[in-house]
Structures are given as structure tokens and as C-alpha cells.
């Protein structure tokens, strides 16, 4: 456990959630569908999830979303907050391959595909399954309304998480020293 949840992971989780919160509240790019925004913040949660694993991803998205709801609406809309957390958690399974590669300055085709697959799966489970079901169970919302909302959220959030996540991971991996970049001189 100690290695899995090191001090760096704890701090990254804390600051990641702060970053998620800032973006969630202040950066809203309106999408073509009325009353929905492209939440750039989900790119940040998938970035932290891919680097620091499922628990970090879960907390970044869950805490960030819950706090933003607290500040903006007074009370969190728990079903969607939990769904955010789930999307962060499952995206975190990408960390297995991506994390160590990025730390060595590699973020190539294999990593991109691996990352994309996990993020899409994560968003599908979170928005098509978890969010609508919790909406019905916790809030007794009408079923067809929540499933349409969920499906829209899935498309929008999956695209944003993948694109923004890849841009960020690419940029971050470029700052890392590549393995074997130094050769011994004869």
C-alpha cells in the first residue's frame, strides 16, 4: 500500500482536485447542444488518473466535482458526482502502462491507444450506466430523461477526456528525459 499511495500521489491527488475544481467552475466551452458545456476538467482527471492510478483518478474527479457543486449549487448532485468519480477510477487502469512510459518520456501509439480505450470504457460505464441508474434510485427522475442526458454526457465527456488527456500527456512526457538518451563515450 505504501508504494501505491506515496506522498507524491497524495499531493498530486490534492492539487489535481484543485485544478479540476478551477477548470470545472471557470472554463466552460459551450457545446452545440444547448445548456450543456464541454467540461475541459474531465481531461485533467483522466490525465491525473493515467499518471497516478485509479484511487487518485477517483478522488480528483469526485472531490473536484463535489466541491464545485457545493460552491455553485449549495449541495452536490450526488449521482453525477459519483459518476465522475467512477469515470476517474476506471480511467486510472490506464496508469498500468501509461504512467511508467510517460515518466520515461515515451507517449507513443501503444500508450495512446491504451489510454483511449480505458477512458472511453470509463466514460461509458459512468455516464450511460452509473449516472442514470443513480438518478433513478436516489432522485426518482424519469428514466428516459436521465438516459438521454447520460448518453449526451458520455459522447461529450469521452471526446473531451480523450483529446485533452492526450494533449496534456504528450506535453508532459516531452518534459521528461528519455531513457537511454545519454550514450557512453568511448
Amino acid at each position: 500500500m505504501k508504494n501505491n499511495f506515496s506522498t507524491k500521489t497524495i499531493v498530486a491527488t490534492g492539487l489535481g482536485a484543485a485544478l479540476f475544481l478551477v477548470l470545472f467552475m471557470f472554463v466552460k466551452v459551450p457545446s452545440p447542444v444547448p445548456e450543456t458545456n464541454l467540461q475541459i476538467a474531465y481531461g485533467v482527471s483522466s490525465f491525473f488518473a493515467a499518471l497516478f492510478g485509479p484511487v487518485a483518478g477517483l478522488l480528483v474527479a469526485f472531490v473536484g466535482h463535489a466541491l464545485s457543486d457545493f460552491i455553485q449549487y449549495g449541495s452536490p448532485w450526488w449521482s453525477w458526482v459519483v459518476a465522475s468519480g467512477v469515470s476517474g477510477f476506471i480511467s486510472g487502469f490506464a496508469a498500468k502502462k501509461v504512467s511508467s512510459a510517460v515518466e520515461e518520456g515515451r507517449f507513443g501509439k501503444t500508450e495512446i491507444i491504451f489510454f483511449t480505450v480505458w477512458v472511453v470504457i470509463a466514460n461509458a460505464i459512468a455516464w450511460i450506466l452509473v449516472a442514470p441508474v443513480l438518478d433513478i434510485v436516489l432522485y426518482s427522475e424519469p428514466a428516459n430523461k436521465v438516459f438521454i442526458q447520460g448518453a449526451t454526457a458520455f459522447v461529450v465527456d469521452a471526446i473531451v477526456s480523450v483529446i485533452v488527456g492526450i494533449i496534456l500527456l504528450k506535453a508532459y512526457s516531452a518534459t521528461k528525459t528519455k531513457k537511454g538518451s545519454l550514450a557512453k563515450e568511448d
Binding site: V11, G14, V22, L38, G43, L67, K145
Partner: protein
Amino acid sequence: MKIKVFSYSSLDTLIHKMSGLSKLICFLLLTTAIMATYDIRIIIGIMIFSYAMMKISQIRFSQIKMMLIYVGIFLVFNFILTFLFAPKFGVEIYGTEHVLVNGLGNYDITVEQLFYQITKTAKYLSVIPLGIIFILTTNPSEFASSLNKIGVSYKICTSLSLTLRYFPDVASDYNTISLAQQARGLDMSKKAKTSERIKNVAAILVPLIMTTMDRIDIISNAMDLRGFGKHKKRTWYAAKPLRKVDYIGILICLLIFLLTLWVRFFINKSIYYNPFI
């Protein structure tokens, strides 16, 4: 962009005197109670209770104005959407149909549907003050310590208090970078196209992530040097011991919670309160 959130100010009121732990318990009890019921009598009761608590904790209207506007927009939008997607949901629930106004096709306005939607709106309105009270009267570090007390690992609590501590810093970083990029000619206003704006957000996001990653390194090194995470337990400077007012508060909220459950399971025998039969 003004950052005036978490404007915790230490006032001398009954609510401020309660420890973060008991406020957290009360918040969870009351919000769960609201979630577990669709009985408008209970909802109105809790609503009156929570607005009274807000009065006691001396929260000013100006502090929550923005919040109320956001919530208002959300509620109106939710109200319309519910009607569009499920105009007969109320009829389904309550089993009777009293048509008020005949509408197009399925879209008749029925008393049942109105009752259902008003109850739902009241539900949301009644939990808002609870969250506001909790955020505005609780010291962030004390909140982390109280989470630790109810059994959350202290590492997670530390990460949460780091979030609260660094939120303003990250926000001001974001602001600085955004202004710097705008000075270089980036259009962040509504005039730019959506695709253009996404690209521009990326131009802010990349430097922001880099500074954040640097900061993560600095903080985690500092914490490692001070031996963070060596032991299984930690103590908290900000922890407050529970006092009489805490026990009374928890007791009141517990009673409301139990009353809600009792009404749900023994009086209404369902989540809905049905005045139509």
C-alpha cells in the same frame, strides 16, 4: 474573475461553535432524509428548519446571491425537461388523473404532474441551505480532521485539505496564464468559434499543468523531508472536541431522519405521499 468562495469567516454563532464532525454528520443525515422521501410535508418541514439554521449562522444574502441564481436556472431547466420527457410521470406514480389543461397529444397538464414537479423542486430547494451552511461555517482544516475522525484515512484527508488550501493558488495561476495568453492575442471571448476556443483553452491548460506538476514535486518533497506518512495515525491541530451543542445538534438531526424513515415505511408505505386517494 473574482474568487470569493470558501469565504469562511469565524463568527460567534451557535453553528460556528459546532465541530466540523457534527456538522458533517448533520448534513449527511438531513440530505439522506430528503433523498429518501417524496413527502412534501416533510420536505417543507426540513426546508423551514434549514432556512432557520441559515438565519442563525448569520449568512448574508450577498454571500449566496450567485449561488441562488445558478440554482434558479438549474431548477427551471430541470422543471421543463422533466415535463418534456415525462409528462405523465405524476399520473403513473399517484394512479389518478385530474386534467387541468388539455395539451397537445400526451402533454396534458395534470394536477398529479404539477404536484410531483413541485415536490421535486421543493426537494432541491430544501437541501441548498444545508450545503451553504456547511461550507461557510466550517474551517477547512477542521473539516479534514473531522473526516479523519469518522474513519477516512488521514492520507486522503491530507489530500483534501491540500485541495482546499491550493484551490485559490491554482485559480490565480489560471488567471495569470489566461491574461498572459490574452495579451499575446488569444481570443477567449464568446466571439471566437467553439473549435477556436478549445484550442485556446489548451494553450492555457498546458502551462497550467506544468506549473502544477512542479508544485506537486516541491510540496511532496517538503512533506517527505518532514517524514509524512511514516506512522499509521496522525493528530490534527484543528480538531475540536465535541461539546454539548454538538450532541444536541446531532440528536435533532437524527430525530428528523428517523421521523422521515418512519413516515416513509409506516405511514405512506412508499417513497411518495399520495393525497389523491
